[in-house]
């Protein structure tokens, strides 16, 4: 069995913890280092109770050990400053922040605070395999997609591929609902439990960063709004689109099944029976699955597309491991087979 050594930089955050969970359970990986400034020398299990069996203590991010693959789960702006150090110790670098996610430096000037090492942008490959699989084999710098953009791209890609939507389509409205893990583990009054339970809180009334990412990879200009709702994990994107030509349910099924029938992690869920008739974060919580579905609204010449993922897995750590499996030529679903729980509480 081929095994690779891996390290996780930024191991105490939610995303870092998920990477450690997936990699520790992955047949082809051995986790040799997890770094943290705040919890240096503490056990990983102290931060992540589901990892108490992992015999590993956090170490200082300034003494990086050499590994085959380094995963960086740090906030925006960190890995763009450390990427040279990363490549000194690792053959492959997988970054889960936005630092290498957008293709051009100019976009970082507009939507972030510029870029410290723009020369790496050309070399970076966008992680989402459902969109970029052919460019991943052998890639040595992989950039994880943003979770909101991931949910939206997975929902709308089949319509773009089928020519139903294009750059000059009418309005594309994307209304996203996300859990509290998306705000990261950051503190602050707004994310305290008393203030956060039972919210439907506009979190990003207009979402330029997500729009820039979606436009870069789908060629669609979208109008984006994000709300925080009462979940910890999960992202649900509802896309309201108005195709120029009328489209039928048969076209939609053909487009979505055509796009995803062979994708190991994608499910088309649309108007079937039972309780879970459309895509829902509960159905995919903890898994690397994505659920997409649609409803036709002829009266308004509208198609409503639903797309649900777990922002911690399909939206970040799972997508990073999936892309790394493809980059290293490993089985795509290796380490990513968990199918979720039912019944399950708030994800």
């Amino acid at each position: 069995v081929e095994t690779y050594t891996a390290s996780v930089v930024g191991g105490t955050g939610f995303t870092g913890g998920e990477l450690l969970r997936l990699l520790a359970g992955h047949p082809n990986f051995e986790v040799v280092q997890a770094t943290s400034r705040s919890a240096d020398n503490m056990t990983v299990g102290r931060s992540h109770p589901n990892l108490r069996d992992l015999d590993l203590r956090f170490s200082d991010p300034d003494d990086l050990e050499s590994v085959d693959v380094l995963f960086s789960a740090t906030p925006h702006g960190v890995s763009m400053g450390r990427v040279d150090d990363y490549f000194e110790v690792a053959d492959t670098v997988v970054d889960l922040s936005a630092d290498f996610r957008l293709p051009e430096a100019a976009m970082y000037d507009e939507w972030y605070d510029g870029h410290e090492s723009p020369e790496y942008l050309e070399r970076a490959e966008y992680a989402l395999p459902e969109l970029n699989r052919e460019n991943l084999p052998g890639a040595d710098l992989i950039a994880g997609g943003g979770c909101n953009a991931t949910a939206t791209i997975l929902g709308l890609k089949p319509l773009v591929d089928a020519g139903v939507l294009g750059p000059d389509s009418g309005e594309v409205v994307v209304d996203v609902k996300v859990g509290s893990s998306e705000g990261g583990a950051g503190g602050g009054a707004a994310s305290s439990h008393p203030e956060r339970s039972g919210v439907v809180r506009p979190y990003a009334p207009t979402g330029h960063r997500h729009e820039a990412e979606i436009e870069a990879y789908l060629g669609l200009s979208v109008s984006f709004t994000v709300h925080a709702v009462d979940m910890v994990r999960g992202a649900s994107a509802t896309c309201h689109v108005f195709p120029d030509e009328p489209v039928s349910k048969a076209d939609l099924w053909k487009g979505y099944r055509g796009a995803y029938a062979d994708e190991p992690f994608m499910r088309v869920v649309s108007g079937g029976g039972g309780v879970y008739r459309y895509p829902e974060p509960k159905s995919v919580a903890g898994t690397n699955h994505g659920e997409v579905g649609f409803e036709l609204d002829p009266g308004n010449r509208r198609v409503v597309v639903f797309s649900a993922i777990d922002n911690m897995t399909k939206g970040s750590a799972g997508q990073a491991v999936h892309a790394t499996n493809v980059a290293l030529g490993l089985p795509e679903t290796a380490g990513l087979e968990f199918g979720g729980l039912h019944p399950v509480g708030s994800p």
Binding site: A98, G146, C147, N148, S181, E182, G183, G184, G186, G188, Y203, A204, R209, N311, G315, S316
Partner: protein, 62 residues
């Protein structure tokens, strides 16, 4: 005759309406507009001028 505890009048930069501010307001202070609730920064005194405070940088996470 204004005393130093009378409220100060200034123009709300968003709606142009006249708003009352606490007398002891200082340059650089951030206060919320009684009209829109928007956070405003005191740019100068005499006359008191206000500007929309820099947009709260949302922690976008992901």
């Amino acid at each position: 005759m204004t005393t130093d505890t009378d409220p100060v009048l200034a123009e709300d930069p968003i709606t142009g309406e006249e708003i009352e501010l606490p007398a002891d307001v200082e340059v650089g202070e951030i206060i919320d507009s009684p009209v829109t609730g928007t956070e405003l920064e005191v740019i100068s005194l005499d006359p008191v001028t206000l500007e929309e405070a820099p947009e709260l940088e949302e922690d976008w996470g992901e």
